[in-house]
Symmetry: C2
Subunit: 452 residues, 2 copies
């Protein structure tokens, strides 16, 4: 029934579904015995000047024994947009079981993991076993659009809701292969707009072409100087800041289960940027990269149009890793693009702004939280977990760390091929069931962590 | 009343207005004594697979005296899209007279010139003067979207409607300054799609960034090699083909009334590609140029999206001038881009296609048709006309020339600041009235041309 709720946080016309999803989450947590609150986190401004209510954040508490550890499970129940026409084999909003896989939007990201956590406390209750740790939940409904409202709430409740929390657990990511994994780092992201403005209005390319320096040509010219064909970032200073790959890391990467061939076939490319596992993983997780996402203001429809666009805005981003600093990167990129642009001697105007500056997050995979994770994985799956990172950004992890100062673990249960944000998202019954067992085991292992 | 008809040929929901516009045109021509036909030119296929009727082409004949010359006036009564919200000061579909300017979509392009031609034959009739030449009309309703149906009709009627035509007159362009002008050339246009295809679907730039060679980076890399910041086309062979600027041309350009400062302020730029009149006019009219219009398939909306687009299609065009040949240009561009792309050693696939290959058109400004034009301008305006070209493409001129073999003149009456295809399109009462007088005088002058 959770999949059937179209809790798409990016679509304001679906906001009532999203509110209903938060109500259902709260109700579920109450049913299994939690003390639940729905926290009003204010309103969201819309482009048209009006505003609508944000979905409430659901918090819950199970147990308040001061002699026990307290963990806080973070999750979200909003989803990315999905339409059957996008290429889904099944209705994205009807949970469909095919050969042991449960298909539906939000199945893996992040509804099933949230349910698995709720079932974890339910299991302890059903078996009449005391929870080995106190468990809190913080479940939001705006993750897919930037956790609007949650950052402020974390700051506001730093000394109340979070005061007795020892550890924060996030299960909003996936394994790298069929082997279970613990995630100890994510990349951050600096997202830039580079705007080149020229004529006061769009011009006909026949009538004016050849007489003006075109903003689009200027923009292409500077974008081409960001990264080399072989993936080398050309912005001075950016690569120099990056922490070096240690021998220990190299060894860790070497041991990780990761098949280059299946990665290639998954994305449909005959050749990757690097042809060995360590280089590839390193550039996925712990090196920065530049991606050019697109250009606003130019002609982007099918067909032909003979236009010289007057104002064009490139969107590109640079993934952040230790020891990069977004404020420094902002200056490096801005200075560099202006210097490249100056050489063109164009009368057009360049404006570079950084609109997102999200830092990377990195945990110590030898921290007791991770040792507990390794023990739980070994207990349930009888293997050692891979210690992995995420190439993407989970800004909330960094916010939790910076605001609350608590230790964080990312404990994924989703499969590497779950298709998050893509068509035909799914979670397998196996991952869902064994994942729940993992969570059950993990609470036990955490309860064993000594205060130090 | 003609302006009030929203005869936007690009918008199929306005097709009934367009049919009405053709009926009104036919009726008007009948009223002033023409033998009118409405020629069915078939249907237009729509993207959804259905088809709708094309607007009929209106032909008319005034006089059949075999001892007289026969001219054929070409015009169109369809218009570009226009909405008040685009920034119009007045309702674009309500003719509004402000300080002697008649504002409205289609006012200058091309409804007023068509009416001026109809009024020209009406004046002869009202004054009971025999037309000095036989006059035919061919008025279409699909010019703004590529004259769908007309090319075939011209071929079909080459030996019927066109058999007794001596000259074709097109008044679908404007003066260069306040001085009347005759237009003796237009640039052609080769329009290209360059598609780079990589992964089988769009990828998350966090999760995959750094591990794949991104199609967008490849595309930017090859686009940046098309033209230098100073406007030099970098595709081998393209510039070499261009006819050299002769001393005579240089002298002609030197004499043309054209103010660089007002051109700059019209388009809102502090600096143009060339700072002297001759170079600027030459690069507007008789040199090729490259314009990059935009990219399809990448992220082009406001806001941010962290996507690695899987398939991106750049749209760019190269204006054609004598002695370029579109078939040769197609090969030059395709070979060059593939060679530039090959150096990148990318696993992505590049596909280059030329979707439009329109040749330039050039007349001899010393031809008797132009001498007649100079005489008519002198009679009405008491000045010598500027002899100018158009930077844009009027493919129908080239079609008339290639299919019928007739001589063609472009005889504009619109003002340089009429804002064709733009907001606040207008024609001044002065240009409209004096333009009608010019047409009246022109018919007289053409009747004086000796057979040679």
């Amino acid at each position: 029934p959770w999949i059937a709720v179209e809790s798409d946080s990016s679509d304001v016309t679906k906001r009532s579904d999203l509110h209903r999803m938060m109500d259902m989450t709260a109700e579920k947590l109450r049913l299994v015995g939690g003390s639940v609150e729905m926290v009003d986190v204010g309103t969201q401004a819309l482009p048209n000047g009006s505003s609508i209510a944000l979905p409430k954040v659901v918090t819950a508490r199970f147990g308040e024994d001061p002699s026990k550890r307290t963990v806080c499970v973070y999750g979200h129940v909003d989803v990315q947009p999905a339409k059957k026409e996008d290429g889904w084999a099944t209705d994205p909003y009807e949970l469909t079981d095919i050969d042991g896989n449960l298909y539906g939007r939000g199945a893996s990201d992040n509804k099933a993991p949230v349910l698995a956590w709720i079932h974890t406390v339910e299991v302890y209750k059903a078996l009449n076993i005391d929870l080995p740790v106190n468990v809190k939940f913080i479940i939001e409904g705006m993750e897919e659009t930037g956790s609007n409202g949650l950052d402020d709430m974390i700051v506001a409740q730093k000394d109340s809701f979070f005061s007795d929390v020892d550890y924060i657990i996030i299960s909003d990511c996936v394994w790298l292969s069929r082997r279970p994994a613990l995630t100890y780092g994510t990349r951050g992201n600096c997202y830039f707009f580079a705007k080149v403005e020229g004529p006061k209005k769009d011009l006909h390319s026949g009538v004016y072409g050849g007489t003006v320096m075109e903003p689009m040509t200027d923009l292409i010219g500077i974008l081409d100087k960001l990264i080399s064909p072989s993936g080398k970032i050309l912005i001075p200073g950016v690569r120099e800041a990056v922490a070096h790959l240690s021998d220990e890391e190299w060894k860790m990467y070497q041991d990780i289960e990761f098949d280059l061939e299946s990665y290639k076939s998954e994305i449909g490319l005959s050749q990757l940027m690097y042809s060995n596992k360590v280089d590839l993983l390193a550039h996925r997780w712990r090196h920065p990269t530049v991606s050019i996402h697109g250009i606003e203001g130019a002609f982007s429809s099918p067909g032909t149009k003979t236009v010289i666009p007057a104002k064009v805005i490139a969107k590109f981003s640079i993934r952040q890793v230790p020891n990069m600093d977004p404020a420094v990167v902002e200056k490096q990129v801005t200075d560099y693009l202006h210097s490249v642009f100056a050489k063109r001697k164009s009368p057009n105007k360049l404006n570079v702004t950084m609109v997102i500056g999200a830092k990377p997050w990195l945990a110590d995979p030898k921290h007791p939280l991770y040792e507990a994770g390794k023990a739980a994985v070994k207990r349930v799956f009888a293997v050692e977990p891979d210690l992995i990172r995420e190439g993407g950004t989970i800004p909330i992890a960094r916010t939790f760390q910076d605001v609350t100062g608590k230790s964080i673990i990312m404990l994924p249960i989703g499969g590497f091929d779950d298709g998050l944000h893509s068509q035909n998202e799914k979670i397998s019954r196996y991952n869902y069931m064994e994942g729940t067992k993992l969570f059950i085991a993990y609470l036990h292992e955490v309860s064993q962590i000594k205060k130090y």
